[in-house]
Subunit: 113 residues, 2 copies
């Protein structure tokens, strides 16, 4: 007899691991256009990819530290917002990643079925 | 000017992260049938999914520790080999994971393009 709670606990953990590596790709792909943190969060939500601020904001800081982003402050309705966008290097990384990933994904889909 | 070595270093690292979570799914899917470590390695290689022993063997031990596998020793040509296969719990985890993953993947593909 398999306990449903035990099963879902294991499945959730593995699912989180599956997502972890993919989130970088998802977030970078959205930063081809200028975004601030919250607009990105909302945009991903609309596309059915739910991500929390606790995951997204450290991820964006990490992408910035890696040298993939340019950012600047803008005033929107008198509120300062920091906007981010891929710089030239980030765009090159994303382009390569996307290409590799599509090939990998096709292979994995074929294996996993 | 983007340095090619710097670019490929970044791309390789991110690619490794992308793969890390997916490897569990790949390996579990192959363990619906009985396999020993080396046969699994060869089978994945044939399907164009390259994985090293240093990645695969710890992964199999981890799956076993998580309680997903049954294993037994068999003598093949007088060589003892440890065979692994998903047990009932492992199969239930894989089934759930596969279903969730297919949905997630469709969403991610749509976002990343």
């Amino acid at each position: 007899m398999i306990e449903p709670e035990k099963l879902s606990e294991h499945v959730e953990r593995l699912n989180a691991e599956l997502r972890r590596g993919l989130i970088v790709l998802v977030v970078m792909s959205q930063l081809e256009e200028k975004q601030y943190g919250y607009s990105l969060l909302k945009q991903l939500e609309e596309k059915s990819f739910s991500i929390t601020q606790d995951t997204l904001y450290p991820m964006m800081r990490r992408l910035e530290n890696q040298g993939y982003l340019q950012s600047d402050w803008q005033l929107d309705d008198n509120r300062p917002r920091r906007y981010y966008q891929l710089n030239e290097f980030g765009q090159a990384v994303l382009d390569a990643l996307r290409k590799d990933w599509k090939t990998q994904l096709r292979i994995i889909e074929e294996i996993v079925r």
